[in-house]
């Protein structure tokens, strides 16, 4: 399998170089999306299926869509700084990269946390160690992460940029939406539920839902009036509210911030994750479609 790893690694670096050096905007974004998918594959090889799911859905899919939208609005590439500066920074960056590779290859890196997590996994209420870390042992980090999402959403809404206006995309999008939307909702629910025992969870499920929502908006099959946008904004903000309320409730019930009552951990985790899934889906969809009033393609 080492040959597969090496081919994959060469492909990843090649795609990264293509994505960051090609003059054609479309070609570089296409290379970026392929990079995301190859990286997801490499994370399967590093035994991180949860991260691979998130990378494929968010890192390749949603970021790719965001970049394509921005590329259309920003216009063609500007001329770049060349000459001596480019060469000297290339040398510095190459030196830094080689140094990092050398340090990580040489320095001993014992796997510290795995035994600790395995030891306490029964106390967390779930059997997937990544979900246990995200929603129980380090739930505080996840709470702050949702706060970052909310901050980004508020920034985008304050900027009041342009909003996506759907184009007429032909007859085939309606049957496509009719089949794919229910399947996407089904997959999101499945990912959310199985996140407690197998790869999956709120972020992956939210990304799948957001993808379905963006597809509906782009094809013009969803209402995009001001009332819908406002309710989506409230839904996006509700995830943080539920999480904070859960944190305060657990403080009252058990005396520990985000320390869930013993025996009911799984219900708490699934409940928080369900709220987060809807909120992440609404947030990601709004970050893509924009909330502004000006309607420009």
């Amino acid at each position: 399998m080492i040959a597969f790893d090496i081919v994959l690694a060469v492909g990843i670096v090649f795609c990264a170089v293509c994505a960051l050096t090609r003059r054609d905007r479309m070609a570089s974004i296409a290379a970026f999306i392929v990079l995301g998918l190859l990286v997801a594959l490499s994370w399967i090889r590093l035994a991180a299926p949860d991260v691979a799911l998130a990378e494929a859905a968010i890192g390749a899919g949603l970021t790719g869509a965001l970049l394509l939208r921005a590329a259309q609005r920003l216009g063609p590439l500007r001329p770049e700084a060349g000459g001596r500066l480019a060469v000297s920074t290339a040398i510095v960056a190459a030196g830094l990269g080689c140094g990092l590779a050398w340090v990580f290859a040489v320095a001993p890196a014992p796997v510290v946390y795995a035994p600790l997590v395995t030891e306490r996994l029964e106390m967390s209420g779930v059997t997937n160690p990544v979900t246990a870390v995200l929603l129980n042992f380090r739930a505080w980090d996840t709470l702050l992460e949702i706060a970052v999402l909310v901050a980004a959403l508020l920034l985008v809404s304050l900027l009041g940029g342009r909003r996506i206006v759907p184009a007429h995309l032909g007859e085939l999008t309606l049957p496509f939406a009719r089949i794919v939307t229910p399947v996407a909702i089904l997959i999101a629910g499945h990912l959310l539920w199985q996140g407690s025992s197998a790869p999956g969870g709120a972020f992956q499920a939210g990304a799948v839902l957001a993808g379905a929502m963006i597809g509906l908006v782009l094809a013009g099959h969803a209402h995009t009036g001001a009332a819908v946008v406002r309710s989506a904004l409230i839904l996006g903000l509700s995830g943080l509210a539920v999480f904070v309320l859960a944190a305060l409730g657990s403080e009252v019930l058990t005396g520990h911030f985000l320390g869930y009552p013993v025996g009911a951990e799984k219900i708490w985790i699934i409940g928080i994750e369900a709220a987060l899934t809807l909120s992440i889906a609404a947030t990601l969809c709004l970050l893509f479609t924009g909330l502004g009033q000006r309607k420009v393609r």
Partner: protein, 97 residues
């Protein structure tokens, strides 16, 4: 019976990989967007579906076959729709000419 299924699975996967290689060759060698799409939509869908069917033959449990069939469904639908959308974007008058 299981030997039959594993041989069938490997055969299907090999055929699927062949289809994907053909699609890649077409993408590389063909001159313009429409003929590339022509190769890509068909060979891609066929290749991935065959690989999923082969994997289903190899695993054999119902819990694993169901997601694979869902994959085939999604690939078939999205391949056809996206191909049509890309072709629409390059043909004049929204593909109605």
């Amino acid at each position: 019976m299981s030997a039959f299924f594993s041989i069938l699975g490997i055969g299907l996967i090999a055929t699927g990989v062949g289809f994907l290689a053909l699609a890649a060759l077409g993408l590389w060698r063909l001159p313009d967007l429409l003929s590339r799409l022509h190769v890509l939509t068909k060979a891609d869908t066929a290749g991935l579906s065959l690989i999923a069917l082969g994997a289903a033959c190899l695993t054999g449990t119902r819990a694993e076959i169901l997601p694979l069939m869902l994959c085939v469904l999604l690939i078939a639908i999205s391949g056809a729709t996206v191909g049509q959308l890309i072709a629409r974007s390059v043909t004049p008058r929204g593909g109605r000419s």
